[in-house]
Symmetry: C2
């Protein structure tokens, strides 16, 4: 269930890589993180903002990163795109066709025709933002829109928009910083795929998250706590150790759950 | 007040340009549109999705387009970005520093910390999505969140987030397809800058829009109805004629308004 977030920036990577040209520093950092963790991670989430800020260098590094990810790992473009229909269609072409990503994060504010072009790709997974991990998630997502908060209205609407049986091409972003809401959502949506960011640097707790998620399908994303585990030359080994510690922590939570609820296991 | 939207795609541009390599076709189309309209347009809105779909070619064409726009015209990157704080910061760096755009469209779903990094640029104009021009604007933006629709809650919150006097660095996207709501908004926000898309191909009417906007500060965006006015070799002249027709229509609405309301003129 581990998804590693490649929020790669020159400011935060080990100093010794900065002697390389920007494009090589970004791509080499990612290549080494991927090489040392791909047997532990189910997915990699590439945060497009970090690449866009470097212009063409960033986009070339993004492409080289895509090639460095083994085919058995899921590639999520974390781009939070969304616009009017014909524009979302162009974004979908960019990420699902040109870059051949397996999944994409999409912002729902503009409604059905802004999300539908992504859902037309039945063999991809479109993650619609529901209840995000940041403090700003309290500003609008939790507003009461009539016996439910906005994020639940977004989720129910999106489920209605996909025409794929069991919605295997639709998932939701639900932050690890909201374990109570995550647990409530799992009562009504036990089979929906959730992308759960916010563990680690953002303050989400792995044990609380796994308990709340109740064994339902999810990718739990950790970015900074793994990729910036060390600033030394062996940062890739430190990232591997951090990833293994995550999995170890997850296993002990699961075994505790197993003991507590043997009937459901 | 005319903003020309550069929603440039190979599928829709004149066929004779397709003999050029992709990057040249995109950049040359834009260069000719800009050269023939820059004395008529106050601003150009570059829709990033249309460039992203062509990968590096698209980003190079985007940069060449930026260089083709004269300094007296406002450059709006229509990117609908927005993410958690440190990620929005990277998007702001991309568009306000690397590409030096004057303005950017931003999606508000993720709340204050997703918008604040853009508002830290006091000399740029961040356009927050409020009531968008598309059909999907009815799905969430109009939901009642307590004696007001969500889009008004978004606008009021964003006004509170900017720390610039009179909010000269904050504007809103309000679609021309909602003239009644635009008129209502202008009662309470006569001095806020609005970016108004949706005139032309999306069905918004220029007379209704200008009447509803009541002379308040606004950029009215027209994309397809101008840039794709002709598929012939003189498409740039056809674009100029379409832009002049827009301005002529706007002038006749204004002169009618002038006769009707001489006291306010």
């Amino acid at each position: 269930m581990l998804c590693i977030g490649l929020d790669t920036s020159l400011e935060q990577m080990p100093q010794h890589l900065l002697s390389l040209p920007t494009v090589d520093a970004l791509a080499e950092f990612n290549r080494r993180i991927i090489a040392s963790t791909h047997d532990l991670a189910v997915a990699y989430k590439i945060n497009l903002a970090f690449y866009e800020q470097y212009g063409l260098d960033g986009w070339i590094a993004f492409e080289r990163t895509l090639h460095a990810i083994p085919p058995e790992c899921i590639v999520i473009a974390d781009a939070k795109r969304g616009d009017i229909g014909n524009t979302s269609k162009a974004y979908a072409k960019a990420f699902y066709e040109r870059y051949d990503c397996d999944a994409l994060t999409v912002a729902p504010y503009m409604g059905q025709d802004s999300v539908a072009p992504f859902l037309e790709y039945h063999d991809r997974m479109t993650f619609v933002l529901a209840l995000t991990s940041n403090a700003g998630s309290h500003d609008f997502q939790r507003l009461d829109v009539g016996h439910k908060p906005l994020y639940q209205a977004v989720m129910q609407s999106a489920m209605a928009w996909t025409q794929v049986q069991d919605a295997t091409n639709l998932g939701f972003v639900v932050g690890a910083t909201h374990p109570q809401e995550l647990a409530e959502l799992r009562q009504s949506m036990p089979s929906a795929m959730f992308l759960i960011p916010g563990v680690g640097a953002q303050g989400g707790d792995i044990a609380d998250t796994l308990t709340a998620n109740a064994g339902a399908p999810a990718l739990i994303n950790v970015s900074r706590a793994i990729i910036y585990a060390s600033q030394d030359r062996d940062f890739d080994h430190a990232a591997r150790t951090a990833a293994m510690n995550f999995l170890q922590a997850a296993r002990s939570v699961r075994s505790t759950q197993h003991v507590q609820t043997p009937v459901n296991s």
